[in-house]
Symmetry: D3
Subunit: 275 residues, 6 copies
């Protein structure tokens, strides 16, 4: 596997289809550096193409998930665009922002489910990342903040686009305008995480169980579910129904369906081929 | 009333505008057979056209609401499309899926509110059905699962299109990717049901009270509310406001409004004509 | 400041950027008269243009937030359109509804955040108003109802368009079809309000703290956050990301960013210029 | 074949996959009666389900294509809704209009291409019909008018929705606001018809050649082309590309492709199975 | 009537419902000054509210329709925003652009049809104006150019949004990227104007005939046609059909319809009341 | 510059900002091989990043622009997906199609205008390519065909998504369903090309003049025009206006604007810096 300076990829168990992707700058509370934005989409793309991988768990090394964008990174980026022709600087800065956005959107482009396993701080850019994930679990000690407004920034890496469909438009507005910190239990209430575990250990175990469970399901159905839900988010109901009917006219009648039906009849666990 | 093999229509009280529609294959936990998909839209259409009906309660006969699509049905459908020219089979299979979808969408096409009264299992196709209903209540013993992924299927009867707007996109993804069973109380927390009753009896009574209450309201306003909410779901706010203004320029100034205002002034219950 | 018959604008503290806008017909439980619909957008526009104002708190004078549209207003409006040519009356009535709608939408057009501080009744038109606000808090005694259906009316001032994105489509349907009253704690559970305070006093204090907090943040970032969230509500994720990237290419590199970064480094509170 | 009072279905050549559907009230210049709106969708549905049919030619019996809605029909429809409760009448009238619209939309719902062969008058409702067709040819004597405005009606059977995408939004506005008559050659210039033939005979021959040509093509590819173009009309480019990729993942790899490629290599005409 | 420095309103014939609105700075080839952007929406609003007006003809005083934005105006506007905090300047400049846009969009907000009568130069801002009009005619001497690119500006007053739906996306791109001048006859070919008249006099006469013709039609149907076409431009076909059905359930059954049908039966011209 | 087997990049004049990109398999009439789909996006990306390039001219080496997809490529692609599990094959084939689509969409992703210079055959995949270009010119000998239907294929590389907005939905349907060949002059009439030149030489000269002209304009304004038109294609007018206002709040106030205004005042040609 490739070497990354800001990330680490771990396959805990060689027989498992679950791979772990760690934000790996623990001394900086995994703050997002410029390198991260280059490495992260590359890592996700390699996992997407690796047919041994069915599920990706995204977690933070050390005591926190992610403290948000590195202030030095922010300063050094903004320094590049403050001088010179304002129009040209604007055009280049816009492209830079879009490149950073693409790094986060890589989570959605990855066909395989990405499970965010969150502990400690999940701040600013950390929220941008987890809102792009497919499933979010956290430990009790996790805390969250849509912090950008306190840096005088309109959040531009995805939170304003993705958070409302997760926690509701009203809650998203309140969190983004106040920038207030909220706890794991409020995150659960809001629907930002699906479950809170009592400790980091319980989180790790709980995530493993869920991830391994998904890893054993039909990869065709799992990817179909992610793809169709994602596309349907922007279609109306009629269009979404038509889309999934078209999708399934190609994908439903598979070996996986036969295997699932046979296994069900034989009261055994189905075993699905790689995809 | 017409005869159905998979359904039963009951008017409990001849003076009431509330009609009950039962999924009626209790020996199969009301699993959805191919016949169901033909009969269900027919039943809803007849209730929609019947001016005695103001509200429809959808419930399951026996111990469960619905165990999802009948495996035999699934197998027999898929068998039709596995052989022969792949392109042609795909085209026919797509039409078959769209026909099954139409059966569920019949709930939304019905101008009158459909209240789902859920007890016991509500699995797979059962979730497709209830997410298309206008109101959802359940008893404490109810349990739910977006089960399709475990049959190696990308759910294609509406759950992936309708569930996100009900429980949020994040929760919908988690439920659809894990296929896990969740309880009535979690369904309440998620917003999938509006209320949980302590027992089936309490559910029946509670649903009756709500349904009768709606049945006594202005049928014009009730249908307008359903229609406008449904359409606004796919319009932006500006378009939705324009739509309801146009709607009300035709429908607001009615005998029902006069009656409602008079009744309010006279501190009596209003009585509205059939529609 | 201008004089209003249905409203009052109060700046509690001359050094504060928080202004209070009161619905001010306490003897009528702040029921919405025809005058209100003329004065409200005018008041919001004046606050929007006043560079001393960073945050607006919307509250009700007396014991209630708002009892909904004044029945006399409703009757006098509808009386204008019941006679004469039905087509022409329809056209004029449609324009009248759109004008009333515009009065509520003025909350969204105002670039500055509007915080609804709700106590007592918040009924019908009151719900239309608060769903257009950016943040909603209430006291324990607050109660809510999407009441229009009981007046034989399809709600047409915004609730059907805005409530679903706040509380979910399923909850919105249930509330609008039943017209039932719900408590402050259910409002919290549903996500309609972000927080419930134990008493009116606690509400006032709590709202003040939040509003003053936002009032001290970068006005550029606060307005950007409101504007981008609002626009992204109707765009898909890709379009919304492109929009905020374009926005920030103009607005991010500001004195406010420098000040925020400096203040952070110097561990002091940032001070931002007016906008 | 079923009997129709306002239509006639003709298969000119028993070996051909081209069927002719005639508007058949020549004594009334094929003006659209209430019966037409019931029979037309029925006829199209039967042709859609008939696997002998690959292409439908829609034409008018007698000297004209269609003189628009029958004034008697219009009067008798409107008479039903002018009295009684205005709100209720509005609700029923809206449903009636939607039913009439559905009759025209049946052309788009039909999976097989519908070629409009237009001669003489094509007025009002006639334009609604042809704008829903897939291909439009006319003879030199044809003339057109979006006539509704002269009956004090906002056209509501599809012209205002479909004409702009065919002739451009500007041209559509001019034609609809003036209601002016325009000739076959202007129709060609505007893009409303693809070709003008010198006489009715030449039209008949020309349409036959085109229709027979399409009738010999792969029915899978022809239906795919109609379906994908229709759906893409309401999607953005990215969504449309994704849709057709999904479509072709099910439908492209067919016997028809093999046959087309073989025939091409062997320099012979391909022969495709029925669908 | 109000006084304008950049416009003139003329009612040529006191019995006519056609009013003329002139761009009236002939010495500057009607170049658009900052005042124009304030006066233009005010003028259109007054015409919209004046029940004597059914149709508005927009024309240019002197030898040209409009030479585009006044360079002095452009310079003085941009001078306001080049200094000071870049973020704040950007925010204010964005609002300024939106205000200028609103002035042009006033043409679409006006419920009554606006007919552009174009002669001589129609450059830059002139094209922004005419693309927002409902009907466009020109004289032979008219010439056009989407000129903004030559001032190093991305056109921002509406041409890029409205031209593609009028002349096609491909033509719009070519015209906007080259900024080339095109003649009246090419404008006709492209669909930008509906008709070219041989001289200014013929244009005046021709426009008068068309405008008077529309002025005698049912104002209800004319406004409905404009409103429905405008709204349908942004809805898909299904949504647009539903919208017009809802519209007509309020507006179709009018005195105008009765009058139109009677007049038709009696072979006389219908006479419609003001709206 | 990189080496390509299917393409050639030529800078005719070292002082010019116009670069020529040739489809370069003249012996195969520039039929699209699998390699093309890899090289084409790579070439466009390199031109996009090269600050010496302002405009790209896309042309075909030899006697034809492009004969469409290479039949061998088609066969070898489809052979990969006909065997094995139908569901898995479908999933992989869908990704393959999307990759081919991405190669064409690279034209739209390139920020700089791409001018298609078309001579000889422009068939099938050739039409997919030119509909993604920003400007299209052709010589008299050019001929076109949306040929896919004759290979039993629903066109899936962009024609069905992009052609309707260029030539109108009606014309696109007719061309795609008949697959008929049409001439350069019909292409002009339909709006597919903006101009027809008498010969290949005249085409080359004409394209050079236009491309050099654009190459001398403000690169900021040219890219803004392309970007805003492209984005506005999928937004409604209100959203598009807001987008361009936001865009210009960042990009309008530039050195290019000052230079353009100065040059205009000084009656000289402006000179713009690279971007």
């Amino acid at each position: 596997m490739a070497n990354y300076t800001t990330l680490e990829i771990v396959q805990e168990n060689p027989n498992s289809a679950v791979f772990y992707l760690y934000l790996n700058r623990p001394s900086h509370r995994n703050a997002l550096s410029r390198d991260f934005f280059t490495e992260f989409p590359r890592a996700l793309s390699s996992l997407d193409q690796n047919s041994d991988v069915n599920v990706i768990v995204l977690s933070g090394a050390g005591n926190h998930f992610c403290a948000g964008i590195d202030l030095k990174t922010l300063t050094s980026i903004s320094d590049q665009f403050v001088s010179g022709d304002r129009g040209r600087a604007g055009e280049k800065f816009r492209r830079e922002i879009k490149e950073l956005q693409e790094a986060i959107t890589a989570i959605e482009r990855c066909r395989k489910p990405v499970v965010a396993s969150i502990h400690g701080a999940c701040i600013g850019g950390g929220v941008d990342i987890v809102t792009a994930c497919d499933i979010r679990y956290c430990s009790k000690d996790a805390f969250f903040s849509v912090k950008e407004v306190d840096l005088a920034i309109t959040a531009d890496l995805g939170t304003l686009q993705r958070l409302p469909s997760i926690v509701g438009y009203g809650n998203a507005l309140e969190l983004a305008l106040t920038g207030r910190t909220f706890s794991s239990s409020e995150a659960k209430e809001l629907g930002l995480v699906s479950r809170v575990f009592g400790s980091r250990e319980e989180l790790d175990n709980g995530v493993r169980v869920v991830a391994e469970g998904i890893g054993l399901k039909s990869p065709l159905a799992v990817r179909g579910t992610k793809a169709v839900l994602q596309r349907s988010r922007e279609l109306n109901v009629e269009q979404g129904l038509d889309y999934v009917a078209t999708w399934n006219s190609a994908m439903l009648l598979s070996d996986d369906l036969s295997e699932a039906v046979s296994a069900y009849a034989q009261k055994r666990k189905p075993i699905f081929a790689k995809l």
